[in-house]
Amino acid sequence: MGPTGIPSPCSLVGEVMANGPVSSGLIEMHLRVPGGSAGQPTFFPGQFAMLNRPGASAWTFGRPLSILAWEGGVVRFLYRAVGRGTRELAGLGAGSGLTFLGPLGNPFPAETGGLRPVLIAGGVGLPPIWSWLQLYGARAGGPALACFGARSVEDVPWTLVGDRWRVAVEEALAAGDGRASTGLVTELVTAELGDSALDGACCVMACGPWPMLRAVRDLAAARGWPCWLSLEEHMGCGYGVCKGCVVPLREPSADVGWRPATCCQEGPVFPVDALAWDVMQPEGSP
């Protein structure tokens, strides 16, 4: 356990227990890992792990996957097979070994300071938001508004996104399908909240693609709400040594007004005001 109460990362070898689709594009993996003391938190929402193949078949770099849950020695991940590594992950059957380094990174705040939480997740950005709702949703200041956005209704992992969630999908719904609304998840949030006198009464936590994060930033800024974003960056090491996943942070004392920060070690969760949005490329990097 680190000085901040965050569990120290462990390098372990785990065994895949289950690995299969939970929607048209999302895959849930259960990995059994040794250890974990009873009563101690194993991770905090927003933290991730680096997974790799063991031994000679290891990739040059592990793959960072956000932790969905970690209970009874089983870590659950949600991912999308988009590149060489995640496609290979998707092909692993029960009994396969994987190296695990985690939990890594900084989590979302556990306390909202009495503010009502507005939780926004897009696609594969669901795990940290989902776990936050599971762990802290009941004790926050006011009922959480949890919204999930996906491209289509088939892309929604309905086993995870149940009654507590509002869902928006970009593709038009079939007539009579009342499970989701059509549009962007940020439009759904705006509609759910109305433009009522909620100013200052909410805080926002979000994870998803960059266009969504920018819209969330604007939504929170317009109302003066505190906001935390979990960023997805390509990572090499996952623990701050390779400097391959930098994002620009505001730094008034620096000549240029910003400094590079590793997304893996200083993030992946950042307060929205810490980010130097003016020097960012569309995908977040400086």
Binding site: G2, S8, P9, C10, S11, L12, P34, N52, A58, W59, T60, F61, G62, T99, L101, H234, G236, C237, Y239, G240, V241, C242, K243, G244, C245, V246, V256, R259, P260, Q265, Q281, E283, S285, P286
Partner: protein
């Protein structure tokens, strides 16, 4: 099972020039940050990733802080990594004021890697580090980075000329003092042994061989190089035989101790360098995948 010829304890003290190092398994510059990261990590049988390490060669510092290159900076290939980090670093002032005292307090054996654009700057950097570290027990030496291929002002070409190598070594003190002076050589030359001889003649106690190979990868979606600066430094498992060939050339043609670096991911990989005559090795890219990689290699080479 270790081969019969291997009888060295990699965690026993040994000497490079005037300095005794606590062990022969090191981490390479740029691959384990400043040696302050990951101390809280554990693995079964290991209390920390620093167990058994002979030295951490710290991330290269320059006279002023550098923000590094634009993203993307890192490209993975099936057997290696192409990087264009661009010497992002905290700069000399923060290094001597903050990093070195913390390394000393944490008892991390370290070698400070420094890079500059002319011999005069090497002189300033070396002197500042020597002054700050004069009374430190855990600061063991300097490694001159003459060969970082990612810096626009020509760091790559800088280390290719034997005369320039010698001038930088002389400027950095020429090996005077009680700490080791190492030079990290670029492999992107025809005659690497000439560079090693020049370094040794100017006073370097050892050379670290090798730095990354120049590489390029293409993004098929755009048809353009993956890295914004086209070229990067290639490292990882793929370069092991290439680096071994360069080390062999130096060992046979230059009278200078060699610290082997390039593509080491296992105890067997490290043994190949020792078999050729390297006095120590550095674990680089593999340390990024597994923070315990160097510690595991040290343990395995020690206990079989």
């Amino acid at each position: 099972m270790m081969p019969a010829w291997w009888r060295t304890d990699p965690c026993a003290p040994f000497r490079i020039g005037p300095r005794e190092f606590p062990g022969r398994i090191w981490t390479a510059s740029g691959c384990f940050a400043y040696g302050l990261t990951g101390h809280e990590m554990t693995a079964p049988g290991y209390a920390s990733p620093y167990e058994g390490l002979g030295a951490v060669v710290t991330k290269t510092i320059t006279p002023e802080p550098r923000a590094g290159n634009p993203m993307p900076r890192l490209v993975e290939t099936p057997a290696g990594a192409l990087n264009s980090i661009g010497l992002e670093n905290v700069g000399l002032r923060e290094f001597v004021r903050d990093v070195m005292p913390r390394l000393e307090a944490a008892a991390v054996p370290f070698v400070a890697s420094i890079a500059a654009t002319c011999p005069e700057q090497f002189s300033d950097l070396a002197r500042a580090v020597q002054t700050a570290g004069a009374k430190m027990r855990h600061w063991h030496g300097l490694e001159l980075n003459l060969s970082c291929p990612n810096v626009a002002e020509g760091g790559h070409d800088f280390g290719k000329d034997p005369d320039t190598v010698a001038a930088c070594v002389s400027a950095a003190g020429g090996g005077a003092g009680d700490r080791a002076l190492l030079v990290k050589l670029t492999p992107n030359v025809g005659d690497i042994a000439a560079l090693a001889r020049a370094a040794a003649a100017a006073g370097a106690h050892a050379v670290s061989a090798v730095n990354t190979f120049v590489g390029l990868d293409v993004d098929l979606a755009t048809g353009r190089p993956c890295l914004p600066r086209r070229f990067g430094g290639y490292s990882g498992a793929a370069i092991l035989p290439l680096a071994l060939a360069k080390v062999d050339e130096i060992v046979r043609k230059a009278q200078v101790p060699v610290v082997g670096v390039g593509g080491i991911g296992s105890a067997d990989d490290a043994l190949k360098y020792f078999a050729l005559g390297a006095v120590a090795v550095q674990v680089g890219t593999a340390q990024m995948r597994d923070p315990f990689c160097a510690a595991r290699i040290a343990r395995q080479l020690q206990t079989g």
